[in-house]
């Protein structure tokens, strides 16, 4: 069926998009649908479809027994892995800190030794 340049086929292409709402449809398309029984019928079917899909939202499917247990087990395992990782990263930080302190202490001791040697040498030269 035809009304001006709009055909049922072109309306059919646009109907799924028009069902989204958000702004009024093209006036030419709206005019065609008003005058075309076939397109009106198709529009009604789309409305039925969206209603049926929306009604699925209220239906709840029961998972297989054991699903909840599996979920808890995987969370438990992830929690333990996380705890182990944090312990290891804590130890790593402690090792790195210890090495840094030891290096700093060794450096300071070395500096003291060098300084005292230099002082002794300068005293010897002066005497």
């Amino acid at each position: 069926m035809r009304s001006d340049t709009i055909t049922c086929e072109s309306v059919a292409e646009r109907l799924p998009q028009i069902m989204d709402g958000g702004g009024s449809p093209d006036p030419a398309i709206a005019g065609h649908v008003e005058a075309c029984l076939r397109c009106q019928a198709e529009l009604v079917q789309y409305r039925k479809l969206l209603r049926s899909l929306h009604q699925l939202r209220t239906e709840v499917l029961e998972p297989a027994p054991g699903t909840l247990t599996s979920i808890f087990a995987s969370i438990e395992a992830a929690g333990e892995r996380g705890a182990i990782r944090s312990i290891l990263s804590g130890r790593r930080a402690a090792y790195v800190g210890g090495i840094a302190v030891a290096t700093a202490a060794a450096g300071a001791a070395g500096a003291l030794v060098l300084a005292s040697r230099a002082r002794r040498r300068s005293l010897r030269i002066a005497s």
Binding site: A12, L15, P16, Q17, M19, D20, R38, A41, E42, Q45, Y46, K48, L49, L50, S52, L53, H54, Q55, L56, R57, E59, V60, L61, E62, P63, A64, T67, L68, S70, I71, F72, S74, I75, A78, G79, G82
Partner: protein
Amino acid sequence: MAPDMAGLVTAAKAGDRQAFEELVRATYTDAYTLAYRLTGNEEDASDVVQEAYLRAFKSLKRFRGDAQFSTWLYRIVANCAATALGKRAKNRHETLDDDAPLADLRPDYDPDARLDASVERERVTEALRELPDGLRQVVVLRDVYDLPHEAIAKELGISEAAAKVRLHRARRRLRERLFPLRGEEAARAV
């Protein structure tokens, strides 16, 4: 009595494992239902829902609470389902370009049963299962769970325009399959 979801989320974020388990108990049938609708089979749905809770557990600290916990979880389920279906698709040839009409393979189909709500739901569920994965995911997230186009696109890793195109194609296929017009019914019977 319905659990205090906001309180449970706060406690779980603070590291209370029991609070997180309560959140799981309160939401897992809904999450499983969504996973089933997205994947179309029980085995994948169970894997997806398990993976989704694991991700939720690991990233709970990043949940800002500006959406409901269930909406946040649905997005994670959608993302996990997209990943699972992507892996599954590697082992199966299926394209979005396949415009072949979906045939009704039930010879004993009774038109009177259309009035029965549970039969109607069964038909819609079956028609959804028959859709290609890419189309099914979008139409379920949009028309069953009311997720915005933007969120759907983000979780499925596609553009918003692509999500809309898939939605419209899915709606068209479902309409033709579930509510055929007179000429379409005759054409399918041939």
